[in-house]
Symmetry: C2
Subunit: 240 residues, 2 copies
């Protein structure tokens, strides 16, 4: 089955698939992940083993039922980018797709967070999923930065920073039992990365084209660290 | 066995442990990782099964025999930091300990790199090791940034960026079959992260205090994205 088939199937969310996820989580919470077998899950859902394996290659996959769809969505979103898209902002927007998937179902996401912290095998599975998201972002940035000095280095560092910022916000939200504003938290965290690597997404970029030839003059001590110079520029841009 | 015991034992590098690693790699390369059992390894090394498990909890651990020692070294190095150490530079120096471990034995590191690319289980193991290094760096930075706004966010993002830059340089070196200058590659990559997050560690910082008041003047179109302005500043600083 190709990943796009999988994505379509996941998007359709057939009731049997949902029933299997619900049954699995009920059992994981009642008796523990390790103590639950696929046979237990299919018995509770009232379906056969083959139905389970039609949707999920393994017991671990039922814990993260939507990552394949989300990875496919992210890849499609990045592939649909144009040259006019500022690359760092684009990968930040791509990361927001992952947050949206978690925020769609707060109770389920919080349950899974607790489960994943307890089961080392699930933690390993999650690390491999996070790695795949990071590589998708890095691959896009590498293509955008192709031919520039340090293009792959810059791409890898920014992809890792975006993932770390996203996960920092996601974990805060999960620890609030899904009660905080997930969108605001991730916007703040990703804004931090955009500032470090691409500059603010706000007023300057949205100003009408006629104003684009205005100049900004920044005078800075040579010894000042680069981030301070960037801060000065941002302050200057914000002031007028 | 505590991790400091493990570290001491690893540092002593008893011949039996080395013999087990050598035997394991000979077999992994000859017949493949999956096709090699612990029994095969101990038979070739001429020792009993119990000796194997005295040094390595599992077959995967024999592939990465020095990470526990390196993690212990990194933790000790960070714990020995003072308030006068610039935190971003300190975590970059901590990351250099990992590179040094790889560079100590280029032929072995290159063999393992090829093996890890072929065996998904080893890839997962490696991700979990990388995650532990990243958390060690993040824990140090979180403590240093405690009480600052966005301290944990900043810590997590910088730790991820340092690990990504280190691994970008490490992979380039491994792909050169260990022939390139590993130290120069990682210095360059980590310099990139230090510039983004802490200001340049190089010439400007080392310039005598009297020169610090030199100024840099940058004139830029207002519409230019911030990263382009930063590029201009970097070029200007590098030129004179």
């Amino acid at each position: 089955m190709s990943s796009s088939d999988k994505a379509e199937e996941a998007a359709a969310k057939p009731p049997m698939r949902d029933a299997l996820v619900a049954a699995a989580f009920q059992l994981f919470l009642e008796r523990g992940y390790e103590q639950t077998t696929v046979d237990d899950i299919v018995a509770l859902a009232g379906v056969g083993r083959r139905s389970f394996f039609r949707y999920f290659p393994s017991k671990e996959d039922v814990v993260f039922p939507d990552h394949e769809r989300c990875l496919a969505d992210m890849t499609a979103f990045l592939a649909a980018s144009g040259d006019e898209d500022e690359p760092v902002r684009r990968v930040c927007d791509a990361a927001r797709l992952v947050l949206r998937m978690y925020a769609e179902n707060p109770a389920f996401s919080v349950q899974r967070y607790r489960l994943t912290k307890q089961v080392p095998g699930l933690r390993a599975y999650e690390l491999s999923v996070v790695w795949r998201y990071e590589r998708a972002l890095a691959a896009y940035l590498r293509a955008r930065f192709a031919g520039r000095p340090d293009g792959t280095l810059r791409a890898d560092v920014i992809a890792a920073a975006v993932v770390a910022a996203h996960n920092n916000a996601l974990r805060s939200w999960l620890r609030s039992d899904g009660k905080d504003d997930a969108g605001a938290a991730v916007d703040h965290a990703l804004g931090h990365v955009q500032e470090a690597f691409a500059g603010p997404a706000g007023p300057a970029a949205e100003r009408p084209a006629g104003d684009q030839e205005d100049v900004v003059v920044v005078v800075s001590r040579r010894g000042a660290p680069l981030w301070r110079v960037v801060q000065e520029i941002e302050t200057t841009l914000a002031r007028d």
